[in-house]
Amino acid sequence: MRDAPLITGLSLALLALAFVSVSLGSESIDLAAALSNLARDPQAIDAIILREIRLPRLLIGLLAGATLGLAGAAMQGLLRNPLASPGLIGSSSGAALGAVSVLYFGGQALHPQLLPIAGMGGALIATALVWALAGRSADITTLILAGVAVNAFATAALSLLLNLAPSPFAVRELVYWTLGDLSDRSMPDLWLMLPCTLIGWALLLGTGRSLDALSLGERTARSLGVHVARLRWRLFIGVALAVGAAVATTGMIGFIGLVVPHLLRPLVAHEPGRLLGVSALGGACLLVGADIGVRLIPGDTPLKVGVLTALVGAPFFIALILSARRRGTGIL
């Protein structure tokens, strides 16, 4: 397999980051003892810390990061545009709106998992809306415009909730949630996001060959036997499910879906199909790494991981534009 070295390298990096991630925390625990206690003595304090706090944080970060990387690569392949990002089709702002609504109306008190459930519901409703707006045989432009419209509406509704929030504390809570965070997540959160995530991944990962053909243009791809309309919907639904699940659980985490495919594309000879899997690994590395970063940065107010990825991502993006300008080529 041509990408074996790259995949091995990324997997090893992810493993190392995962080890650092579960080692970090306010309590220092002996990892080997805690791991063995998970099975032997589940009520031991180190086993509880690992199971209830550190593993959910790691695994949710891993799943969400992989989703963002994968979905970004898939969207860029579908649109044949390196600036496309998973947020383009409305599901992430729909998820944010759903989750924030629960926060606003205090629904969290009813059930701890109501927030991610509402987030996923929001993502699905946003996707269904885009579907209804664009129609079954929509071309790419219509699909994007429908996504932009739904995005705009969800953002407006979010602003409305912030506007109407009863107190500054409520505003703070709502805004904080949208910033994107991996702390204080639990195993039930993980189980909840898992099905949609896995279905979304399965839909996305199988599209590699069609995305490769699509780099020759839509008509030529069709002449090569690719069912382009079906491919579009498959990617669309895959991105909606996986990204919806990720955003509903972690909040909005920007730039991973944009930056990771960009960084890795030259390493897979610019082939959209090969980019999918490695982008998933790269996204997981980046988010788990960023989550380590926010815990290492000292300060009274803990930094949200979405803030860090945006802070690092935006300058990276500027550097990308500048280097493209220097080379005299397009942003490719």
């Binding site: 590699g208 060959r209 069609s210 490769d212 780099s215 243009g217 030529t220 002449s223 036997g225 610019h270």
Partner: protein
């Protein structure tokens, strides 16, 4: 309109701008569904074939095709194997052999590591032709393969297509250059205002009257050392635009 393409033939679809050549070619390729009538492949309705089955038997070469990512020539040619591979299936030794043979036939071996964006127009046409041939189609449909090529590359492209036809491929191409059509095509179909004007060997179809009627020009022509022709002047006539106004929506007057 009744059109048939046979194996071992190089058939040209010719006609003035807007005559419907590319649309017809896309219909023949199964990329557009005709409002009425049907397209058959070996007696079977094209629409009834599955996407993969159709793609294995029929290759279509887009006019001025682009490659959206800086992918290597070798990989672009290998995309021609797409209809033969399942989503997760890896390319086999046979697939690689076909890709190699297609690159050999089109003289692309030396370009294999380059990206398409760095190629000249002639090289790009050869690479995309190799992509089409890599799928081992029975039928090759090409939309203006010589457009935007310089003279030498026009001849090279036509020679390649002629060679494909001589090896038994069924080739249908949209052509603007009537001299090339006269020289290389076995038969031509002349389209005018979305209808079939006439068809047959290039010499019989492209007579003086046709040039005057369809193209509105007087041409000079000769047969030595190869068939050639050149437009001399536009003819004063009820203009093409008037003719089109006379039949709104492609009426029935033109045949």
């Amino acid at each position: 309109m009744d059109i048939a393409l046979n194996s071992g033939e190089l058939v040209g679809l010719i006609g003035p701008n807007g005559a419907g050549k590319s649309t017809l070619l896309a219909m023949l390729a199964g990329l557009l569904t005709p409002d009425s009538g049907r397209v058959e492949l070996d007696g079977q309705a094209l629409q009834s074939l599955g996407n993969d089955e159709r793609a294995r038997r029929l290759a279509w070469l887009e006019q001025q095709a682009t490659v959206h990512w800086p992918i290597s020539v070798e990989r672009v040619v290998a995309l021609g194997r797409t209809p033969w591979l399942q989503p997760w299936q890896r390319a086999s030794g046979e697939d690689r052999d076909r890709v190699e043979a297609a690159m050999l036939a089109t003289d692309c071996i030396a370009l294999r590591q380059r990206t398409v964006a760095t190629l000249s127009g002639g090289e790009r046409t050869r690479v995309l032709l190799a992509r089409a041939l890599a799928g081992e189609p029975q039928i090759l449909l090409a939309d203006e393969p010589t457009a935007a090529l310089d003279l030498a590359h026009q001849l090279q492209t036509m020679e390649l297509l002629r060679g494909c036809a001589d090896r038994g491929l069924c080739c249908g191409i949209v052509l603007h250059d009537l001299a090339l059509a006269t020289r290389y095509c076995d038969r031509v179909y002349l389209l005018h205002h979305g209808r079939l004007h006439s068809h047959g060997s290039p010499d019989t179809v492209l007579d003086e009257q046709t040039f005057a009627q369809v193209y509105g020009v007087q041409v000079g022509r000769g047969s030595q050392p190869v068939p050639w022709l050149a437009p001399i002047k536009r003819l004063p006539q009820p203009s093409l635009r008037d003719a089109r106004h006379a039949e709104p929506g492609g009426g029935s007057a033109a045949r």
